[in-house]
Symmetry: C4
């Protein structure tokens, strides 16, 4: 697979988004956060557009990130700022669109209480 | 994706349902709960029917929720009341049927002990 | 869906099996356990055969369970005893074969430490 | 399924890799670790090649493991050493390639804080 063959899908969805507003433990590793992990095994850089959906207002985006060829990027939603930060303690969802095949996984670390909790799932591959 | 294109499937299933009957920590965010997160990226509102299956009695439903166009709804099973509340500490399962394509994810926060635990998975796309 | 239509697949796999050997908290709900949740939405009972795979010995099974029509069963691997109990603190995997379509999800509650941890995923649908 | 029929896919991907660098609790079961669980239900041994992708350097691999016929292997990334150990506290991703069909699941136990957290998901089946 070090051959540079591109694998995966171009569109993925994560319905369950939520960034807890407070944390316990040392920063930044124990800061409550939500992450989208993108793997690009291909020989070409992948430009990825994230669109954020909400419960009661219009979608916001695109947030644009580049995942270089044969690299992975683990992007904290907490760190996205352009076009605007994602509000904390707010239900959201995310659609990920890349210009080449990638693989996407979703993870949250919740440290609102003294001991952290984790969740993860492969995102839903749309096409 | 802000184009309003509808993505996903119309029928989804979650075999593992269970609402813990007690909690620790501040309400409502730390109340033990189980959530179905539904993303509707399309231009039309989606009417969603939830049917709840049990171990030893007939299914109950439909519970009807509307996910507006280009919105997400994170619905706590705890909050469903029509036709009847879902009993606590009881094994159940859920089938989700929408009148248009949606994407569904399942999450539980369990705060029965002092520190919360989380689980999540993309639901099973049936068709 | 209360119509009784059967949905899902007949063969599923769970590569990650492990029953922790000790627990904290009140029994049975906080006993460390591993669960296979099976949903049968059809009008016919489903007979399900579980085969357990190990690291260094031959597979054991089948463990036979019946999931009645339009019911869900959340089966603790801890409780399986015929043909033999599944050893604790031992890596295993599981293949689930039903005589009709079902949907399968895998969950573990680990209470070896004072606060429980959870994991879950939809099992892998084979065919 | 004790018949020895091979099930699954030959290529799988896990975008979210991260081995925490510290732990709490008794070793080795409570050591923070990340695991790839591989199930080989077939009659032939499966040779599996793991390639590790990073954020800012070239992929490393292959790490070669054999999953014997009709066996499961739960491999801790912590234990891989050839061609080189996987660095701790570092984002990575993994592609799994087998010479026959297998099923793959990803799990992490994070015990950086006093109580452990768990995550798991079926890996993404590529082909």
């Amino acid at each position: 697979m070090i051959s540079g063959k591109a694998i995966g899908h171009k569109i993925w969805a994560i319905p369950e988004g939520y960034i807890p507003s407070y944390s316990n433990g040392p920063e930044p590793e124990m800061t409550s956060h939500e992450t989208v992990c993108i793997l690009n095994t291909g020989r070409d850089d992948a430009t990825v557009q994230l669109t954020i959906y909400f419960t009661d207002k219009d979608p916001v985006g695109p947030y644009v990130v580049v995942v270089p060829a044969m690299r992975t990027q683990h992007i904290r939603f907490n760190d996205l700022s352009d076009p605007e930060p994602i509000p904390k303690d707010t239900d959201y969802a995310c659609v990920i669109e890349a210009d080449g095949p990638v693989v996407v996984q979703h993870t949250r670390l919740d440290s609102r209480q003294a001991e952290n909790a984790l969740l993860s799932t492969i995102a839903f591959p749309v096409e």
